[in-house]
Symmetry: C2
């Protein structure tokens, strides 16, 4: 099998299953599997192989059927970016529109934690939910965000860990199979993929992000599962907060009616979801989503979700007091006047990770309190000395380092520039 | 490092050393190393990387200096083929010409055993020699063929075992580094490479074999070591015997003056070696080599080598009685009259392996007695019913299978065909 893939040939379903199941069972060692994965990275996998691999991943563990919830169920996945708090807004927002959002997440290995790491910064919030609890909360509250259980897609987990250790991550088919296995194991009525493109994303080019989205959609098609995908901009941080508790606080502000690009993308995704699942006209669906952020109904759903998962709902009214606070809070000011022509999202993300907001290894702890708030967006006019945000740090030295890194990540020019689009492209495959 | 090679970039010397030494020390697992090797197979290694890898292999173990032997010392390596008993003839032949041949060999993983497996079919023959014994025998006898010690090139051994398990063998730079590490660890004055090309060899095309030879020569050049390489024909079995004791018996016949392609190639290689090491004109050197096979001097050196290594020298006069004999001996006859237009060397080799002459795994035992004798060469005229050789087998069933396989491997036509050349090309890099 390794030889075939080394030569660029296609792997038979039975052989691929024997290889992956043999690896998970411990009968095949890291060496042959890693050599196979490197051959996959360099020689590719065709659509059929990618679908087969996904199915083998799904079959390796338990599934979560979600029929009989009484509402159309949506599952959402983002490929990850900087200040990407969409899930925190999207889940209660679609719940308030009469849908159910069930999202199982892994812990983040990015510049900040993943969605469940962020939610854990809420005192008492529990991310471990049994299948029965997930279902009950989906019925009653309409949204639940919990951690993946060890019983789901164990083959994907084993292989992802090996890929991480063997520099065999960057392969569109391998990434797509890993993403989609987690989605297909859950019986949602619609899968929403937010595929980020830009300097702060895994995929820099819109074309590569589109290719990943198309590969995911092809897998969903083989499995007869409806999916919509948005290729969204990650050339700068999406929201204004980068850090776990800071992002929860920003999500709460948006659920209270605040504006911004994070709010706008959440509304676009929720509107499109509502339109596909209920047949409401897209413009009308989007208007309803926008209204739900202003009339308090999305916030109420967030409050119910926090309460249902054991969290202290008072954070919603007193985030500053009840969410973890970093001891050092340093104001950031613009060095010079001009137009913000670019923000190096990766540099900002790395600065947040250096503060302790993100992990480098799965075993590392994250510091929920630390992070960066950076308010200007590309195209905004800056005035010299005016505030552009804060650094939230554990100590003075790390605050200094982060402040320098943020300043170096901003590109300020004279000529006005246009804000980048929020969504580069929509792709969908629905009935 | 894996990432760099995945992207086709060059690896820094220090990083490569850290990776390989870390792997040998057990600090780096099979997974990362196998992924790196697959990236090397698919992305290649440049000349500098290949030389560096070779040097790291050599440095990982002890070396065998061979100065002060009192004769010019030659070390020979063949990339392996079917009925390739050249070393058995070459070593005593060059010894009889006043040179010394010191050859350390691994056990074979081919269709038959390796050179030391073949020699072990001589009762009493010992292949384990200490460095001091090797040196003493080189001085006194002029030829010694022994097994590689565990202390030499351990990094190459560890990595070769992983390559074998992970389908990462077929890479010219990796093969060249592995071959040349074993050669550079031994302090011979000249390295002779016999690189086989053809259906029965690892490299089918002359161009690929040439490329391997050139890569080996480049490594030797970096190490300031003289080397000659012959790209030789392996489109049919070289000798007439395929099997361990059978090949020893054939070597003895050639050392007694018998003709054939195996004799011819041995003379060519020995002549070229003598010319390079002593400055004798090539034609004169070749004539001396041919004479040493006829006047008994090469045979005397073989006898001395067998005796020095504990073997029973009477095998030379009574090979049929004293070498292991298979219980079933089946005559092979030509099915039809015509010209032998092709012999599938791999099929013949596989038939010999199926009889028990070769291993599939390093741990397997070989049966020294079994094998195939096939006398006709491409271009020869066959008569229907005339003898073309024998099968030597453990039982009737395996003899039947081998006889059928041999018949199927012969291509008989009407038109006369030319015998393929013995040497396609010579390459050398000497002072």
């Amino acid at each position: 099998v390794i030889e075939t893939k080394r030569g660029g040939g296609a792997i038979d379903d039975v052989d691929l299953r024997r290889l992956i199941e043999g690896y998970v069972a411990g009968e095949i060692g890291d060496g042959p599997m890693a050599a196979f994965l490197m051959a996959c990275v360099l020689q590719g996998l065709d659509g059929h192989e990618t679908s087969t691999m996904t199915r083998i991943f799904v079959d390796s563990g338990t599934k979560l059927p979600l029929d009989g919830i009484g509402r159309p169920v949506v599952d959402k996945h983002s490929t990850g970016g900087v200040a990407d708090g969409v899930s925190l807004v999207f889940a209660p927002l679609v719940a308030s529109l009469g849908l159910a959002c069930v999202k199982l997440s892994g812990r983040g290995l990015g510049h900040t934690g993943g969605t469940i790491d962020k939610l854990e910064s809420i005192p008492g919030f529990r991310v471990d939910r049994s299948p029965e609890e997930l279902r009950r909360q989906a019925v009653k509250v309409g949204c639940v965000i919990a951690s993946q259980t060890a019983e789901m897609v164990p083959a994907d987990r084993a292989i992802y860990a090996l890929r991480d250790a063997t520099a065999t991550v960057p392969s569109i088919p391998l990434i797509a199979a890993s993403v989609m296995a987690k989605k297909l194991a859950i019986g949602a009525d619609l899968i929403v993929l937010d595929v980020k493109a830009g300097s702060g994303a895994f995929m820099g080019a819109v074309e590569d992000a589109t290719s990943l989205a198309e590969t995911c959609i092809a897998i969903a098609r083989e499995a007869s599962r409806p999916v919509i995908a948005a290729i969204t901009d990650m050339s700068q941080p999406l929201g204004t907060a980068i850090g776990n508790a800071l992002e929860v606080a920003e999500a709460i502000r948006i659920l209270c009616g605040s504006a911004g690009r994070l709010r706008d993308l959440s509304v676009l995704l929720a509107g499109r979801t509502l339109a596909v699942l209920t047949g409401v006209e897209p413009d009308e669906a989007e208007a309803r989503a926008a209204a739900a952020l202003l009339d308090g109904s999305a916030l109420a759903c967030f409050r119910d979700m926090v309460t249902a998962q054991g969290g202290d709902p008072r954070v919603i009214d007193a985030a500053d007091d009840l969410l973890p606070r970093a001891p050092v809070r340093r104001s950031l000011a613009a060095d010079q006047a001009g137009t913000l022509t670019g923000t190096d999202a990766t540099a900002i993300g790395e600065a947040a990770r250096a503060l302790g907001a993100g992990r480098r290894r799965p075993s590392e702890a994250i510091d929920p309190a630390v992070g960066i708030v950076l308010t200007p967006k590309v195209g905004d006019r800056l005035e010299a000395g005016a505030s552009i945000g804060q650094v939230h740090a554990r100590d003075e030295a790390s605050a200094d380092a982060a402040a320098s890194a943020v300043r170096a990540a901003l590109e300020i020019g004279d000529a006005p520039v246009e804000a980048p689009p929020l969504v580069h492209r929509w792709l969908m495959e629905v009935k």
